[in-house]
Amino acid sequence: MEFLKNSWWKIFGVIILLYVIAGGLLFEAPQLPVIRESVRNIYFHVGMWFSMMFILFMALFFSLLYLRYFRPDDDLKAVTAVKTGLVFGTLGLLTGMIWAHHTWGSFWVNDPKLNGAAVGMLTYLAYMVLRGSVDEQDKKARLAAVYNIFAFVLFFVFIMILPRLSQGSIHPGIEGNPALSTGDLDPRMRKVFFPAIAGWIIMAWWLFRVYFRILRLRKNIDELNEND
C-alpha cells in the first residue's frame, strides 16, 4: 500500500482533529466566570498560534539553510512557510478576535500580547512586500533570507520582553509566549488540548508540503517554458 505508507500521518492528523472537534465541543469543560463555554476556543485559537510559530521557525530554518548553501529550493520553502504561517496567523487573529469580543467586550484591546502578534504579522507582510520589489531571483532570495532572520530574532525578543515591560497583560499565558502554560490548564481540558496542538501542527505541515509542491511545480514549468 503505497498510499498508506506515504499518508498515514495525514490520516492520523485528520482523525486527531476530528476527535478534537467532537471532544472540544462536547466534553465537560470547567465553568469559569465571564469566559464560560467560550473556553473551548482554546483548542482552536491556541492551536493556530502554535502552528504559526512552528511554521515560522521552519521559515527561519530554511532561510538559514539558504544562506549556507544557496539552494533555490530552500528559498522557495522559506516563502512557502511564511505564506502558510500568515494563513495560520490570520486564523489565530480571527479566532482571538471573536473570543475577545465575547470576553473583553471588543474585537481588539490594547494589550501587549495582541500588539506583539500584530507586529509579527506586519513583519511577515513586509517580508512579502520585500520579495515583490526585487526582480532578480537570487538577489531576491538573499535579501529575503537576511530580512527573515533579522526580523524573526527581533520579533522573538520583542514578544519575550514586551509583556514584562507593561503593567501586565489581560491575555493569559506565560510571559513572552502568546499561549497557555500547562499550569493554568484544567486537567479535564488537557486530554483535548495536547492532541489539538499536535493535530493542528500536523495539518500545518501537510498544508506546507502541498503548497510547496504547487509552487515548485509552477516554477519548474516556467523554467521549462523559458528554455523553449
Partner: protein, 218 residues
C-alpha cells in the same frame, strides 16, 4: 578593522559636508513637521501627546536621514569598497555615522519641538540619555534595513514598510522611558528599561555584522 571603520566614517563626513543639502533637507523636514503639528493642534497639548508626537516625528526624520545612506553609493564606488574593505567595517561605520547624524538631528529636533510645543520635561539628563541610546538603536536597525532596501526597487515605501515592525519594539520602550523622564522619574527607576534598549541595540549590532556580508556581495 577599527582603522577601516575610522576611514569610512571620515569619508562619510566629507561626503556629507560636500552634499550639505541632504542634511539640511532632513532638518527642514523636521522643522516643517513640528510647525505643521503646532498649527494643527493650535493649543498646548497634553504631555502623553507631546511625548508620542515627538517620537513619531523623530522616527520619520530618522528614516529620511538614513534612507540615503546606501542609495548615494553609486555602483562603481561600491565595487571599489568591495575590493578594499571588509563588509563588517562598512556596516559598522554606517551605523556609527548614522548614530552621530541622528543625535545631531535629535538635538535640533528637541530644540525646535520645545520652542514650539513647550517644555514639560522634568528630568532632562534622563531624557537626553534615553534619546542618545535610542538614536544608537534606531541607527543600527535602520542602517541594516536601508542596506536591504537599497538593493531593491521602490525605496522610501519599502524602507518604511520594512523598518516599522523592526523599530516598533525599540520605539515603545523609548516612549515609556521618555514619558517617565518627563514625569520626573529618577535614573535608577528606569535602569531596566534602558537595559532593554541597550540589549535590543546589541542584538541588532550582532545580527548586522553577521548578515550584512550576504547583502553586500553581488
Amino acid at each position: 578593522m577599527l582603522s577601516e571603520i575610522g576611514h569610512m566614517i571620515r569619508k562619510e563626513i566629507t561626503l556629507e559636508w560636500r552634499e550639505k543639502f541632504a542634511f539640511n533637507g532632513v532638518l527642514l523636514y523636521l522643522v516643517s513637521t513640528v510647525f505643521v503639528c503646532y498649527l494643527s493642534f493650535a493649543r498646548l497639548i497634553d504631555v502623553p501627546t507631546w511625548n508620542s508626537l515627538f517620537w513619531i516625528i523623530m522616527l520619520f526624520a530618522a528614516i529620511n536621514a538614513v534612507l540615503k545612506s546606501f542609495l548615494q553609493e553609486r555602483d562603481g564606488r561600491l565595487l571599489y569598497y568591495y575590493t578594499l574593505l571588509r563588509p563588517q567595517s562598512i556596516i559598522n561605520a554606517k551605523i556609527v555615522y548614522n548614530a552621530v547624524l541622528m543625535a545631531a538631528l535629535g538635538m535640533a529636533g528637541l530644540l525646535v519641538f520645545v520652542s514650539f510645543m513647550g517644555n514639560p520635561i522634568q528630568n532632562m539628563p534622563l531624557f537626553m540619555l534615553n534619546m542618545l541610546l535610542g538614536v544608537a538603536g534606531f541607527s543600527s536597525v535602520l542602517s541594516m534595513v536601508s542596506a536591504i532596501a537599497s538593493k531593491a526597487r521602490n525605496n522610501f515605501t519599502l524602507m518604511a514598510v520594512l523598518s516599522f515592525p523592526l523599530v516598533l519594539p525599540l520605539l515603545l520602550v523609548l516612549i515609556r522611558v521618555s514619558a517617565a523622564a518627563i514625569g520626573g522619574a529618577g535614573l535608577m527607576e528606569e535602569i531596566p528599561n534602558l537595559f532593554v534598549i541597550v540589549l535590543l541595540t546589541g542584538i541588532t549590532l550582532v545580527l548586522s555584522n553577521i548578515l550584512f556580508p550576504y547583502i553586500w556581495k553581488e
